[in-house]
Symmetry: C2
Subunit: 140 residues, 2 copies
DNA sequence: GCTTGACTTCAAGTCGACTTGAGCCTTTAT
DNA sequence: ATAAAGGCTCAAGTCGACTTGAAGTCAAGC
């Protein structure tokens, strides 16, 4: 497959594919003149990369997982991420409940509402970095 | 309170407080010489900002919420974010289950495991940008 | 009176994951 | 034969939320 086909099949722009190749996340198996040739299996690989990204792995972490240096490093890492996700999920649930409440709360000032204050305490504990916002292009 | 007290009370570095002030997220009420003076209420405000960040609002969005131009813009926005969080939570739950499964799965290749493939499909739908990783400093 | 240390401003740097641009080379259609 | 389409490389730019650095100001203690 050439890069455009891979781009279409995966939904990723060609620039990203080149970038991933440079990072060692995918390989092209040869060239046709200048042009990269990919085997069809790269699609699954890309799906796996998407999956990893969605689960919160960085590209570097994903790259490591693809070159198994140790025996069970992957499994340990996977479990650890699952645990991490678990915590994140609980935080988000508290957050969601708080938002929903705040949206309908009658109290003139949220600080007078005990429910809200409880939420505030939860949130205070979990200050983690947030994703960048999506760009227009990525939204449609 | 001076900036160091606020920093201690809020857990945020002074640089962040200056940055927030510049962005209009907080106000200092006067100076002692050059030095900013803050009223104690800034602490609650900062907690609210933290809360907003944790819930996925950008600083700009938070700033907007603090200057209510419309009547119920806040409530609508809060509800919308709650809905958004709800979707995110479901995705993360699928992701977590998938990771947990992958960590113990016996299949030599995950692509041969139906459970994993199902997860892969879910993940494929939700490619959203991920947070930057935390820095050392922020971890401890 | 002079150092020290905490504050100040303003500009520039950082992080990760890409994207964009400039300038070149090839294949394909006219 | 020539031009458009599309791939190539490499460097630089982008995004948001801060952080860092240089250079200056100021009050307090010796």
């Amino acid at each position: 497959m050439d890069i455009t086909e891979v781009a279409k099949a995966s939904g990723l722009p060609a620039s990203t594919l080149r970038f991933y190749e440079e990072k060692g996340l995918i390989q092209s198996n040869g060239r046709n003149g200048l042009r990269r040739l990919f085997s069809a299996s790269v699609i699954e690989r890309l799906a796996l990369i998407s999956l990893g990204r969605s689960a919160g792995f960085s590209l570097d972490e994903i790259a490591e997982m693809f070159t198994p240096d140790g025996p069970d490093i992957n499994r340990a890492l996977l479990s650890a991420k699952a645990d991490e996700l678990d915590r994140t999920i609980e935080e988000l649930i508290a957050m969601r409940d708080g938002l929903r409440h705040a949206a309908v709360c009658k109290a003139p000032n949220h600080f007078e509402c005990p429910k809200f204050l409880r939420l505030l305490r939860v949130a205070g504990k979990n200050r983690f970095r947030q994703p960048n916002k999506l760009k227009e292009k990525e939204l449609k």
